[in-house]
């Protein structure tokens, strides 16, 4: 039973989150003067900004902008500025841990390996390999993602490996593969500045991809126009030329109506459709009934604004689209993306400078982290795991028989559901904090408690690790090297700034050692470390969609990043896709897809009349496991607040700063109100970076998109009630209790803080 050994409060006393405010050694000149400046990249979003870390005495003590890096020219958001505070943090795990009745006890690395291998082997022998699942993450370097995928399939032999990018990019990825034949943004970011019109749909660009605003504002300086479609006015809206306040879950209706207008008003580029696409006739027929008036009824966007947006896009040959989780976190997330792509294809706006449609990858390595094999249905090089040729090739690179490679496994939420049903007995997790990030948090905790074995590799004891049997002290991004791929598709080099402290190790090394302990070491022999893993990855990706073969670490350093596909060493890389007139499908055409309207999975009714949507704030990253430990970032946004419109607030008798209980079909939580006119009156918003009583994901539901298996974070039905403020804020802040020993009977963890 993988339940936490102590109440979460007690665990938090020892393992945090504590807030770190000062560089290691304090602010004094002596401690801050660097021995070295290490050029690398920020770890906190898909922009992957270039940054220089100041290193002194094997500790990161500060940062210096890296102005020569061509993507961000030294620009950074507050997460990048303060990210150096995560190293040398008091919460940093310095040794492996094993759960005991009294808390977590320090154990040696060798014992952690042996114990993990023993338990995993026993479970595999008893229930078969598919009783073990592996979770990965898209915030770690591509080499780690690659080796984790290989580990699951070659060392464990399980088909169940998936990653937290399942909560992030998969709807867009699925749609781009269906339509374009490849899963990547079409254009490099500076193209945005050259567009005449940019449609931004479902993206809080300013907070989640801050550097993008530079390019968008440059677009406006040239006279370009911005269309912003979102239930909330996020900061990007301040300079929007047209704002479409779409009701959560109804983006598809707006896209369909826009295409209806494009078709009806003669804005379709016939030659482009004829020469470069398939499927348009069916798509055209499917939008015939989608008049702007009908879409307006559903979405709450004015019909004339739909017409205007359609005309702006259709009347130029320099239109670009940007979209993110706002249209993707839906049970029709793939449809939303497909319908948006159809707008740009119908108007011929793909494959040129200033013309294209692009997803904005959210995670640190959101793009690279999904290309090389930790996704349940893919092998390295963005290859389909069902494709016999792909299987044959990867098996040959790995030196294993093709039939030994498992087929497609379950996706992230499905894995948690299989754990809950008792089908999956063991979980090994790296770079994923599902207790905070999966929908329906109570269900996630219940599921984790049923595991017979749970091993985790992490650098902080995140909330999910409270359930672990064995915790390996892994590595921060700055403690290892490797590559990442930015939202643009640019492969970049992460350089090592410091060694992992104490008994912590490189994550990739831990995985390889674990493979050895499982008796499969012959396939994980990388004497040159991460560089050797990359060399194998290059080969494994060769001939795939995401072809890295021509990209060496040396080239990346020299050229400041190389865009894939890059099949040969003398290939210049591919910043802009489809510029040669060919899409990535075998026939060279874009395959336009018909999309059908359907309701979201948790619809509003008389009992739950309001729509809840969730998202991010600029100072936090994902589940907050890192940023909730960085003092200045916590101060910028210490607690979640629920945004609601004054008209809704009036019906509830609520003023700014009052407290509300939000109830969905799954759970309730109490939260402070923020009354703002910048959100639709039928919608409320909660940011999702917090655990326990403050976790937005207690409220969300597990409905998945049938193709991408993304959960529908962006729309849940809820009701609201004004409540008295919690008597003690500390009670409210307290994380889940009632796990393990009763709070009063708790013994202290057997591990004093100084000894971690």
């Amino acid at each position: 039973m993988a339940t936490p050994p102590l109440s979460v409060d007690r665990l938090a006393e020892v393992f945090g989150p504590h807030r770190n405010y000062e560089p290691p050694g304090g602010w004094g000149d002596a401690a801050r003067r660097p021995d070295a400046l290490v050029k690398t990249h920020c770890s906190f979003c898909g922009m992957q900004c270039g940054i220089q870390l100041k290193v002194r005495d094997n500790r990161v003590v500060g940062f210096e902008p890296w102005e020569a890096f061509p993507f961000n020219h030294g620009m950074l958001c507050p997460k990048g500025v303060k990210r150096y505070l995560q190293g040398a943090h008091p919460d940093r795990l310095l040794s492996c841990l094993q759960r005991t009745d009294a808390g977590f006890a320090k154990i040696s690395y060798e014992r952690a390996l042996a114990e993990t291998a023993r338990r995993l082997t026993a479970i595999r022998d008893q229930y078969g390999p598919d009783a073990i699942a592996v979770y990965g993450g898209a915030s770690m370097v591509t080499e780690k993602a690659y080796v984790l995928g290989k580990f699951a399939r070659v060392a464990l032999g399980t088909k169940h490996i998936d990653y937290n990018g399942r909560l992030c990019m998969v709807s867009a990825g699925t749609a781009y593969k269906l339509t374009f034949g490849v899963d990547r943004a079409t254009n490099p970011w500076p193209d945005l500045a050259t567009a005449d019109v940019v449609l931004i749909a479902g993206s809080n660009t300013a907070e989640c991809a801050p550097i993008t605003t530079y390019h968008l504002w440059q677009c406006r300086e040239r006279g370009g126009r911005l269309i912003v479609m979102d239930p909330r006015m996020t900061p990007i809206t301040r300079n929007a030329d047209l704002y479409l306040p779409v009701r959560p879950g109804t983006d598809l209706a707006v896209f369909l109506a826009m295409l209806h207008v494009i078709v009806g008003d003669g804005l379709v580029r016939d030659a482009f459709i004829r020469d470069r696409t398939t499927g348009f006739e069916a798509v055209r027929a499917s939008v015939a009934e989608w008049t702007p008036a009908r879409a307006a009824e559903i979405s709450g966007v004015r019909p004339d604004d739909i017409v205007k947006a359609a005309h702006w896009i259709g009347e130029t040959d320099r239109a670009m689209g940007l979209h993110a989780r706002g249209i993707e976190h839906h049970s029709k997330g793939v449809e939303n993306c497909l319908a948006m792509l159809n707008l740009f294809l119908a108007t011929g706006n793909v494959g040129r400078e200033g013309a294209g449609c692009m997803m904005i990858t959210g995670q640190g390595n959101g793009q690279g982290g999904r290309e090389h094999g930790q996704k349940c249905d893919q092998l390295p090089g963005m290859r389909d795991i069902r494709d016999p040729a792909a299987r044959q090739y990867i098996a040959s690179v790995w030196g294993v028989p093709e039939e030994s490679l498992p087929g497609p496994g379950k996706s992230a939420v499905e894995i948690m559901e299989a754990i809950h049903r008792g089908e999956i007995k063991a979980l090994l997790s790296m770079c994923f904090n599902p207790v905070v990030s999966l929908p329906d948090a109570a269900f996630t905790r219940e599921a984790l408690s049923k595991l017979e074995f749970f091993g985790i590799i992490d650098f902080f004891l995140c909330e999910t690790a409270h359930h672990a049997d064995i915790v390996f002290a892994g590595s921060l991004q700055e403690e290892d090297e490797g590559t990442v791929c930015s939202a643009e598709g640019r492969v970049q080099k992460i350089n090592k700034a410091v060694d992992p402290p104490g008994d912590a190790r490189s994550d990739a090394l831990i995985i390889c050692d674990l493979a050895r302990a499982l008796g499969r070491g012959q396939h994980f022999d990388y004497p040159g470390g991460t560089r050797d893993i990359y060399e194998e990855l290059r080969l494994a990706s060769r001939g795939g969609l995401a072809d890295y073969y021509g990209i060496t670490w040396d080239r990346i350093e020299r050229e400041l990043g190389v865009f894939w596909p890059c099949p040969t060493l003398d290939h210049p890389g591919t910043p802009r896709l489809f510029a040669d007139g060919r899409f990535a499908h075998a026939d060279g055409k874009a395959h336009m897809q018909v999309t059908e309207w359907r309701e979201s999975g948790d619809p509003a009714d008389a009992t739950y009349p309001i729509l809840l949507t969730t998202g991010r704030v600029v100072s936090h990253y994902l589940s907050g496991a890192q940023t909730r430990r960085i003092g200045p970032l916590v101060d910028q946004c210490p607690e979640p607040r629920l945004e609601l419109h004054p008209a809704l607030a009036a019906t509830l008798g609520v003023a700014d700063g009052d407290w509300l209980e939000v109830t969905t079909r799954r759970a309730a939580l109490v939260i402070q109100a923020m009354v703002v006119r910048t959100i639709r009156p039928d919608t409320v918003f909660i940011p999702y970076h917090w655990p326990g009583q403050r976790s937005a994901n207690r409220l969300t539901h597990r409905t998945l998109d049938p193709r991408s298996k993304i959960p529908e974070f962006k729309v849940s039905a809820c009701r609201l009630e004004k409540v008295a403020p919690p008597l003690e804020l500390s009670t409210w802040r307290r994380e889940e209790t009632g796990w393990g020993a009763p709070a009063s009977g708790d013994q202290r963890s057997d591990l004093p803080r100084s000894d971690r």
């Binding site: 102005e67 958001c77 801050p210 301040r238 600029v618």
Partner: protein, 191 residues
């Protein structure tokens, strides 16, 4: 950095506070930011604006300082108060037309933006303007700004009868030559 100027365009600001977080990294005011970012009216808008020292040619803060603690250098940068002189009287706080100086009671010292003197004097750009992701804060050559921006840089401000010229430029609509801040200036003269 010869010819480089400091430009502020609040309409670009996305309220991310990267400037504040980066300013606080400076070794001369460790952990404390010299820049402010404010929501103008959060209940009704997402608009935010940064405030940096405008570095006036005739700084009001220095003129009202009884201890002669605020100096303007030959480079046009108005420095923070001099530590032994400043008596933390807050005259400068009240007098500054842009609301920039802050008195830090615990230090008994007025501190404000010195345009990253430590950086600009060795050829680096000021921290806030380097990191600002929207380039609402920009430090660069004036001709580049002229080429790349639709708005026009202005550095003359009219506060009632008082005219203030600053080193820092504010981006304004193309037909504006100076920024007039007093309601009286907009009233019909006969009243």
């Amino acid at each position: 950095m010869n010819g480089y100027q400091f430009f502020v365009d609040p309409s670009r600001c996305i309220g991310c506070k990267s400037c504040m977080q980066a300013c606080a990294e400076c070794d001369s005011h460790r952990g404390v930011s010299m820049i402010h970012v404010d929501f103008l009216d959060r209940a009704n808008s997402i608009a935010t604006a940064p405030t940096v020292c405008m570095h006036c040619e005739t700084p009001t803060c220095a003129m009202v300082c009884p201890a002669d603690a605020i100096k303007r250098g030959e480079d046009g940068i108005v420095r923070s108060a001099l530590e032994p002189r400043c008596i933390a009287c807050s005259n400068c706080v009240l007098a500054c037309p842009f609301g920039v100086p802050t008195v830090h009671v615990e230090l008994e010292l007025m501190m404000k933006c010195d345009m990253c003197y430590d950086r600009t004097s060795i050829g680096l750009r000021p921290m806030c303007a380097t990191v600002c992701p929207s380039q609402a804060l920009t430090f660069g050559p004036a001709d580049l700004i002229e080429r790349q921006r639709a708005a026009r840089p202005v550095r003359d401000f009219q506060f009632g009868h008082e005219h203030v010229r600053t080193k820092v430029w504010m981006m304004a609509p193309t037909d504006v030559r100076d920024i007039t801040v007093d309601v009286a200036d907009y009233m019909w003269k006969e009243q």
